[in-house]
Assembly symmetry: C2
């Protein structure tokens, strides 16, 4: 793995400035395309274009396949239609080509399409562009190796030789009937081990077990779950009639898995868009602002709640406001996170909502009783007095139980309504629990004050 | 994918109770092993054992490979040593066998080892058991297909036929020298396409490009990053001398990826152990308690801070305590999450700490100014008065900037000291920011009160 040091980049930049084309081509040409993509990520747009044009034709395509989306978009918008036709539409696998073109202006794509010599790859890419982002159709590549079950081994090897030039990793050979409908698999291993018996029929080598498939409109998360669940490196995509139209490879599923995990992590941390540390100040600000605004609204609501009670006659109640607010928020985030994860990984029916909530109730009660006992004795020991200690410990128990239930309830409801439950983890739960916690605290505080005086 | 309904399970239980062995064997035998593993997950221990013993010998092993850790441990502890020898040590791939045995008592493992007929698989599994959990060595399987470069194609096919019976998915054929040192790859595709030229040497088909390898002591996160980065389905493991000792397959890397993502998500949500919704009340309570205790400590600290200021003479300051505490916590969580993600995905040098903090400073300033302006005007409009509005808006700006810097600083420092920065996301940042926020708020409040009177 290339260590992208500042020295390396500085040297490279000097070579670009000095126009040392041959040195540059040699230096970069021996790297892994992924490493070159990382270098591009650190260069300015003119430097990227300069370096790109020094690469060999196949290598260009390999690098494009590895580029980050924003870098790729920048590069492609500087390329001529001819270059896009050759390096992208003809040079890339259909799925990568469709991904790369998805962000370009339509006019530019059409112009490039007209420059493509190989009409078939152009139409394949156009076909893939028609699937919605986030579906199996948008993830699949049309390049694959397929054979018919009544072929002989010898014919299969001939056909595979012809088909394989397009397919980088074969993984699995698909078996179809004369209508193109998928009906089995043929492992490279069994074909190889039977290569000498050239006249035997493929039918005898067919593996029909556990044939997992997906349809093109299916959500990409379903694809990832299937591939992970059944340890697949390639998943065939079939249309309504069972006709094999493409396949999804594990590398693309892994990319989706990582993106989803990052997005859920960001949602749980109150960040609303897919941002990275290297993004602009404005992008980072915008991604964070929504939660902060909800937090502001919650804070103003909290001020109203406190104002509605007679804080001036019991000003010592102010002391434990932060504790009550923080604990409500914490417990709510915890219980919503557990529910969101259960929902995301559930391959089994997770039981009905009521039993789930009853469990939360019990966990909340245990946690609440422990915390409540601790805060009661601590508060007495620290001389906060009976009234305040009673108020804070009783409120804490109520707040923890309420927050646990509420935190579990919201994502369960969202899931029922087919809304992504991960949305519930961040701002909404915390803010609602803050306000509810304050209402509970001051209600109990007023009650205790009345009873004790 | 099997839908595990309550009805299905109830029917199955009745069949187990009634001892309808043949029906059960047929029903379960036609499922995917992963689906059977899910069924086991929902059954009681005696039911699992009963059903397990009805399965065919190979199918037993396949199901064991798919079981959840706790279910597998329960089942294995009920099996005889002979069964463990056959179904686990001989029946599973070496990596899966080592995983399954890792949780059993040593005496039981030794007893089972003595029952194994195939001495080689026993010693391979023992070898794998010697690697620390979380390393490449513990992830790898020793089953793989390797050839020597001066063999002919015909000999290679013969040898592969012999080796392949042990290896479920070949993916890649490794080329080694006469010392067993890895020096290239041979794709099944090129071997197949050259199967007819039986006398040509493998050397001519060798692919030496981009040979990514890993050593057995390397951390599993490095393995995952390499496989994801270079789109690998199998990663060879070599020892100090370059000798090929095993390979890691993408399905295991995907499992690690998912576990890591779940763990980071839980840490960010204040849950301290790998728990699932279906775990016991006590496990769920214990996993959540640590953060709650830190929160309690923070709350008591907050009470001291508020008590140290003269809240009784400015009781209206209490109104915005929740806002200040919540905003400090939110901003801190956001900025730490961005830093943690950058550190986790960084394949490039992420720049020095100072420039990173300067960026956070600027993002914090922009967010702080926006929020501060909003709260100032809102607070005036809502008649909270000049003193309170000035105090809360000035404090909010300071709190947001401080929390952004602190949230970024802590994970950066942890990373420098080789501590997992994900630990910083939850309790510590939030609690520290709560207390610091209160100190800032009441200091500014006192100052404003003094200036205005």
């Amino acid at each position: 793995m290339l260590e992208l040091t500042k020295d390396f980049l500085d040297a490279l930049r000097l070579q670009i400035e000095a126009g040392r084309d041959e040195e540059l081509a040699n230096k970069v040409g021996e790297l892994h395309p992924k490493d070159v993509a990382d270098i591009f990520d650190a260069l300015r747009r003119e430097e990227i274009l300069y370096l790109y044009r020094l690469l060999g034709p196949d290598f260009k395509s390999e690098v494009i396949a590895e580029l980050e989306e924003d870098v790729r978009e920048g590069l492609l918008s500087s390329l001529s239609s001819k270059e896009i036709a050759e390096d992208v539409i003809e040079g890339l696998d259909s799925d990568d080509a469709a991904d790369a073109l998805a962000d370009l202006p339509e006019a530019k794509v059409e112009e490039a399409m007209r420059m493509v010599d190989d009409v078939e790859s152009a139409s394949e890419v156009l076909e893939l562009l028609s699937y919605d982002e986030g579906t199996a159709g948008a993830m699949m590549a049309v390049e694959l190796v397929k054979v018919e079950e009544d072929w002989t081994v010898a014919r299969a090897i001939r056909e595979i030789r012809a088909q394989a030039s397009d397919v980088e990793n074969i993984y699995t050979i698909y078996m179809v009937d004369d209508q193109g409908r998928l009906n089995g698999r043929l492992s490279l291993k069994s074909l190889l081990l039977n290569a000498s018996s050239a006249r035997s029929k493929l039918k005898d080598l067919k593996d029909e077990n556990d044939l997992v498939t997906v349809e093109p409109h299916e959500n990409e998360e379903v694809v990832v779950k299937l591939m992970e669940r059944y340890d697949l490196v390639a998943l065939p995509v079939i249309d309504n009639d069972g006709v094999l139209i493409g396949r999804i490879t594990i590398d693309d599923a892994v990319d989706v898995l990582i993106e989803d995990a990052e997005r859920d992590y960001q949602l749980a941390s109150g960040i609303s868009e897919g941002v990275e540390g290297k993004d602009s100040i404005w992008a980072l600000t915008r991604a964070r602002l929504p939660w902060l605004l909800i937090g502001l609204g919650g804070g103003v609501g909290g001020a109203y709640v406190i104002g509605a009670f007679d804080i001036e006659s019991n000003p010592e109640l102010a002391l434990f406001i932060p504790l009550i607010a923080a604990m409500g928020g914490n417990v709510g985030v915890q219980s919503s996170a557990i529910v969101v994860q259960s929902l995301a990984s559930a391959n089994v029916n997770m039981g009905n909502v009521v039993s789930r909530l009853l469990k939360e109730l019990r966990v909340g009660l245990v946690n609440g009783l422990i915390c409540s006992a601790i805060i009661f004795s601590t508060s007495l020991l620290l001389n906060f007095g009976w009234m305040l200690s009673t108020t804070v410990s009783a409120s804490l128990l109520c707040v923890i139980v309420f927050a646990a239930l509420f935190g579990a309830f919201v994502p369960l409801m969202l899931e029922k309504r087919n809304i992504d439950p991960a949305l519930a983890t961040g701002p909404f739960i915390t803010t609602a629990n803050d306000i509810m916690g304050l209402i509970i605290y001051f209600s109990i505080g007023s009650l205790v004050a009345t009873l004790m005086t």
